[in-house]
């Protein structure tokens, strides 16, 4: 996914509402479970998601996605499920920062909820913050990510940045 300057994601949309918190993405009651069992608790509040989600799917969400705790397992779990990107009306700042830190493409795009139905085909050109609804033939422009943060995502996350620095 992180080929320099061309992070493009294409996938089937799962839709979520406002204030989806990190406890829903990494619930404390899944602590200690094996992955095969734990993954069935991720975003358990959306009927059909845990059974139906497939590698390469994407998430479209409302305001304040990822509010709550600082647990990095929240974006990490989405990445492990194979979620290609999250496009939301807005993000909880710690989740947004954690997603950048582990190179999960995330983009804020006001109006995105109205523009997609569940199951639509979404295409995101991450570098240009351009999101297409392939199913409906529409296109939207999200907030551009600053170059310094793009570099972190391109490198594969902050630890990859540190590794490159240490090797230099």
């Amino acid at each position: 996914m992180s080929i320099s300057n061309t992070i493009v994601v294409d996938g089937k949309v799962w839709k979520f509402g406002d204030d989806i918190n990190t406890d829903f993405m990494a619930p404390s009651f899944s602590k200690g479970m094996e992955w095969e069992q734990a993954k069935k608790t991720i975003l358990h509040i959306h009927e059909g998601f845990t059974e139906g989600v497939a590698e390469g799917d994407v998430i479209v969400a409302g305001a304040n996605f990822g509010c709550g705790s600082s647990r990095q397992q929240a974006p990490a779990n989405l990445k492990m499920l194979g979620i290609g990107c999250v496009v939301a009306e807005s993000f909880g700042r710690i989740f947004f920062r954690n997603a950048v830190a582990i190179a999960l493409p995330v983009m804020a795009c006001p109006g995105i909820s109205e523009a997609f139905n569940e199951g639509d085909d979404l295409q995101l050109d991450f570098e240009k913050s351009l999101v297409k609804n392939v199913t409906q033939g529409t296109e939207m422009q999200g907030a551009l990510m600053p170059e310094d943060l793009l570099k972190i995502v391109r490198a594969g996350g902050v630890m990859a940045v540190l590794k490159e620095e240490a090797a230099a």
């Binding site: 406890d23 619930p27 509010c67 600082s70 990095q72 700042r93 902050v158 630890m159 590794k163």
Partner: protein, 420 residues
């Protein structure tokens, strides 16, 4: 042009004369905090890429607080890793199980000062804003990066000003003020902003009451949630640090993105209903809500004053049959204070269970979670579905006084009637 507290701190820590909202800066960090959930992960991330030192281990503080005492062998083993990594990286300020919850311990041990820039791998790191520190939560990888570099990137936030006016009535506390603000303005009002609490109501609050406000600032989406440092701040830190502590506040002509006034004098006790901290009602609108568990604890509301106020309600009374009251003092210091003062005795006599200082059930990590179908009321910060036990439980948030009154009645109750 004048600067807010957040702007002043990010400017001074990035070697600039001034900064403006929206700018990105690389800033030196004064204190970096990790806990038993995040610190070992952060260290393992570094070790995995061959990095085995911190920029300055004396700027790192580690607290073992979330899953103590260990309930499972796995937790105990994770805590062994925590101790090993703390030793390997030369961490001097390591507070092991029993010392208390990070957000009570860092202020108590004098680590958080006015004007500091602090990051913690825990969302409620905003608490230190009560001492005029710009303090915010990050994840484990960001903690690793920060500890190795001693610095990190920050976007300068806009600042929102909440002007608090009027004196709180008896039985009403800073928790009620913050819940009322959340109810009115909702959970993303301060998204990516720095909050400043100002006005006579803010000045009148004790340092501990301010900590409650700054702590839940993150439930409004805030990056920082700050009070100016005044004589109370200086008095609080006087016995806790050798550093010279001075007044610190925004410039008189600082620019705020929004300013909101709140009248504290007519405020009633507030309750957040399932399953969000901004789903708030005044106590007079609550109706009959039975509770099976009442919990006074967490980094939000379990300091000495919190337990003293709960004890005033509970003294000479009993917890209702069918309801259990769990009290977890937030640190060893708090535990000693309430032991000496007799407050602990009052709580136990009323029927409270007491557990050792730590996060307890708040994040679902330790003793005292709710079962399916149960109602809880807690002095904590989040009532998200499934956070404190079963996803089919119903948790409510309130002040320690309201939790205490609810324990007595076995249903959500107004504490003010127990004050006459």
């Amino acid at each position: 042009m004048g600067m807010t507290m957040a702007e002043k701190i990010l400017a001074s820590h990035s070697g600039r004369e001034s900064v403006s909202p929206g700018e990105y800066v690389t800033a030196e960090i004064d204190v970096m905090m990790g806990n038993d959930i995040t610190f070992a992960d952060a260290c393992r991330n570094l070790v995995d890429i061959g990095l085995t030192s911190f920029a300055d281990p004396d700027k790192v503080v580690v607290c073992n607080d979330h899953r103590i005492p260990a309930m499972t062998a796995r937790d105990a083993e994770l805590q062994t890793r925590l101790r090993e990594y703390a030793a390997q990286f030369g961490v001097k300020y390591f507070y092991d199980a029993g010392v208390g919850i990070e957000h009570t311990v860092l202020p108590e041990k004098g680590h958080a000062h006015p004007g500091h820039l602090i990051i913690g791998a825990d969302s409620h790191t905003t608490t230190y804003g009560a001492l005029a520190a710009a303090a915010t939560g990050m994840g484990a990888s960001e903690l690793a990066y920060s500890m190795y570099k001693g610095s990190n990137w920050f976007q300068v936030p806009e600042t929102i000003n909440f002007v608090l006016e009027g004196d709180l009535a008896a039985g009403v506390s800073s928790k009620d003020v913050m819940l009322a603000l959340l109810g009115k303005h909702t959970a993303d009002k301060a998204q990516y902003m720095s909050i400043e609490f100002t006005g006579s109501g803010a000045a009148a609050m004790s340092v501990e009451a301010r900590m409650t406000m700054s702590n839940i600032g993150v439930e409004m989406g805030a990056k920082f949630a700050m009070f100016a440092a005044d004589d109370k701040t200086i008095a609080y830190l006087a016995t806790r640090t050798d550093a010279k502590i001075e007044h610190f506040g925004p410039d008189a002509d600082a620019v705020y993105v929004e300013t909101h006034h709140m009248d504290c004098a007519n405020l009633e006790p507030q309750v957040a209903f399932p399953h969000n901290p901004d789903n708030v009602k005044s106590i007079s609108e609550v109706g009959d809500v039975p509770v099976q568990q009442a919990f006074i604890g967490s980094c939000t509301n379990s300091r000495t004053e919190d337990l003293e106020r709960a004890a005033v309600i509970l003294r000479g009374r009993k917890v209702a049959p069918g309801t259990r009251l769990l009290v977890i003092p937030s640190s060893q210091e708090v535990m000693m204070n309430v032991t000496k003062s007799g407050v602990l005795n009052d709580l136990v006599q009323a029927g409270a269970m007491i557990a050792p200082p730590g996060c307890g059930p708040c994040g679902g990590g330790s003793t005292g979670v709710l079962g399916a179908g149960e109602n809880g009321i807690a002095s904590t910060n989040r009532n998200f579905k499934g956070r404190m036990g079963s996803p089919d439980a119903f948790n409510h948030l309130a002040s320690p006084e309201t939790v205490a009154a609810s324990a007595i009645e076995g249903k959500i109750a107004d504490p003010r009637k127990y004050l006459n």
